[in-house]
């Protein structure tokens, strides 16, 4: 197979770097030297990525694009409202203004610009009006006409200005992961993002590209146009016969073509062994979703008004008292003050946010508060289901206080 002049998107590679260097995804194979080499390679890739995503000169803008990473079922896109719909396929490139739609039991995953991944879920209509790199800012707007989409916005050294627009509201997603659902019943809802699924898709897409570029006539040992790109393969090292890499035990590693492919496979196999990622299957297994947390439209309140309610001095303590009660019901613990460990600090943080808030209450203020609660929950729980329940308890405390009137203890 001729090696095509395929260039890894280093921002996508940067995703891998971020994932591999995350403590929660630490490689734990028996061969720690190989694992350490992978981490070093990932770090080099991350540095290379950051070189790519440098701020532009003031006033300078660059229009970015989105690439399709994965498609399942029926999904189509078109360049604008007047164009014909096209069946979506992996590696399709979408420009700003593109419209996407998915059918039932279908989804489409995109890498958008330099810093975000978007998972457009079943029965959805989504538009990408803006994907721009302007000076020091990466500005992206995603419009959800109906359905659900999950967003993972990465920090790549520039300012993220990522907005999600639904028919009823506009939300800002800053360096975090969040799902947004707009439906006929509940209006706009903020939900948990399926980060496991998004990470799985990102890594699968990236590694499929890496394998494609490595297993050509020119191998990593001969064609080191980008030594960092080859670093991932080179650090794999020769396989031991009978190892999980599944290589030919008679191959002494003298054949450069085999060595390049085998080294990449080894690296991939190492990661597969740890992460159990079915990288070479057509339909990678998506980890099962856990019940979402939801922050629905409050009856008669916008998200901004809900944030204002939470920050009302008389209500904040009541809400947190109720939240403490619910958390202790779901996760029994002991402590002083608010009895659930760490809740005092979260209360202080939310209270500080409320105190320092100026100007009108906007919908993204609720997103900020929910993000703080989510971060609190993620420090306490490692299982996603518990994290979502923890955030749901906060939503329930707010709703309960709003609807019933909760008097402080």
């Amino acid at each position: 197979m001729r090696r095509t002049s395929f260039t890894l998107s280093l921002t996508v590679v940067g995703v891998l770097a971020g994932i591999l260097s995350s403590p929660s995804l630490a490689v734990t194979t028996a061969n720690e030297a190989r694992a350490e080499a992978l981490r070093q390679a990932a770090e080099e890739l991350r540095e290379e990525t950051e070189k790519q995503v440098q701020p532009l000169a003031e006033g300078q803008t660059k229009v970015l694009k989105a690439v399709v990473m994965q498609v399942k079922g029926r999904a189509q896109w078109r360049t604008d409202a007047k164009a014909k719909w096209k069946k979506a396929a992996v590696k399709d490139v979408l420009e700003p203004g593109a419209m996407i739609r998915t059918g039932s039991k279908s989804y489409l995953a995109l890498r958008v610009g330099h810093n975000a991944s978007v998972l457009v879920d079943r029965s959805s209509r989504v538009t990408l009006p803006e994907i721009v790199h302007a000076g020091e800012t990466l500005r992206t707007t995603v419009q959800i006409k109906r359905g659900r989409a999950d967003f993972k916005v990465d920090r790549v050294g520039l300012t993220n200005d990522f907005s999600v627009v639904t028919p009823s509201t506009t939300l800002a997603v800053r360096g975090t992961a969040m799902g947004v659902d707009y439906g006929g019943f509940g209006g706009t809802k903020i939900t948990a993002a399926r980060t496991n699924a998004l990470k799985s898709i990102e890594v699968t897409f990236l590694l499929n590209q890496a394998t494609f570029s490595m297993s050509g006539g020119g191998t990593s040992s001969d064609d080191k146009q980008n030594p960092v790109e080859s670093g991932l393969g080179d650090t794999g090292g020769p396989d031991d016969p009978g190892s999980e890499g599944g290589t030919d035990p008679t191959d002494t590693g003298m054949n450069p073509e085999n060595r390049g492919t085998r080294q990449v496979d080894t690296s991939v196999q190492t990661m597969m062994a740890v992460e159990n990622l079915p990288i070479f299957e057509e339909d990678p297994v998506i980890p099962p979703d856990v019940p979402d947390f939801e922050f629905p439209d409050f009856p008669g309140l916008s998200f901004g008004e809900a944030a204002e309610f939470i920050c009302d001095a008389d209500e904040t303590f009541s809400i947190f008292s109720e939240y403490d009660f619910l958390l202790n019901e779901d996760f029994p613990s002991e402590g002083e003050g608010f009895s659930f460990p760490g809740l005092d600090q979260l209360y202080f943080d939310v209270d500080t946010f409320c105190f320092e808030h100026q100007g009108p209450w906007l919908d993204q203020d609720l997103v900020e508060i929910v993000s703080m609660v989510q971060a609190f929950c993620e420090t306490h729980f490692t299982v996603q289901e518990d994290v979502n329940l923890c955030v749901s308890d906060f939503a329930e405390a707010v709703i309960s206080t709003y609807e019933g009137g909760q008097s402080p203890p």
């Binding site: 029926r74 189509q76 719909w85 739609r101 998915t102 059918g103 039932s104 039991k105 879920d121 079943r122 029965s123 209509r125 109906r146 359905g147 659900r148 439906g183 006929g184 019943f185 509940g186 099962p288 979703d289 019940p291």
Partner: protein, 177 residues
Amino acid sequence: MAALVPLLLLVLMAGGCTIERMVHDDSAADALGALDDELDFWDEVATRHSVTNNDALHGLLLLAGVSEENETENDDISFSRRLRLARERGWIAEDRELPPNETATVGLMAMAVCEILEIPGGLSARVFGPSPRSCTRELIHRRMIPPRTDNQALSGLEFIDLVGRSEDHLGFRAAQQ
């Protein structure tokens, strides 16, 4: 005038308190009933202020995966075929007539969703069998629909939302098995 009230009530009771349901000129599934037109079908349904029986059955059969099983046959299945499939699955009583372009009831859609998701229901449903009212209450209890009566209708967007939530439920349930 007050004396006429009892008389009016008597007339109503004698005639039966039937509610005439709205009838549309057509359904999205008339022209977009083929599997390849699925995305156009959902786009069209989303614009409708209420869902017809024909559209409801088509969407629910898509959810159930029944249409896919018959993909090799005539893709553009007619309303009569949808009706037959719905009766076979117990969504509609055998003797109940269902005009295709009449507004679908929440009860009909709830019956179908309960069957597709294998929701057993409460005591009444388990003893006497599912009914539109019991299925509607069950979906409300599970927060899949807001409080509605079984005779009310759904808008196109609401119907798509219900189908989407049902799919989520199916996916989650499949992961548990």
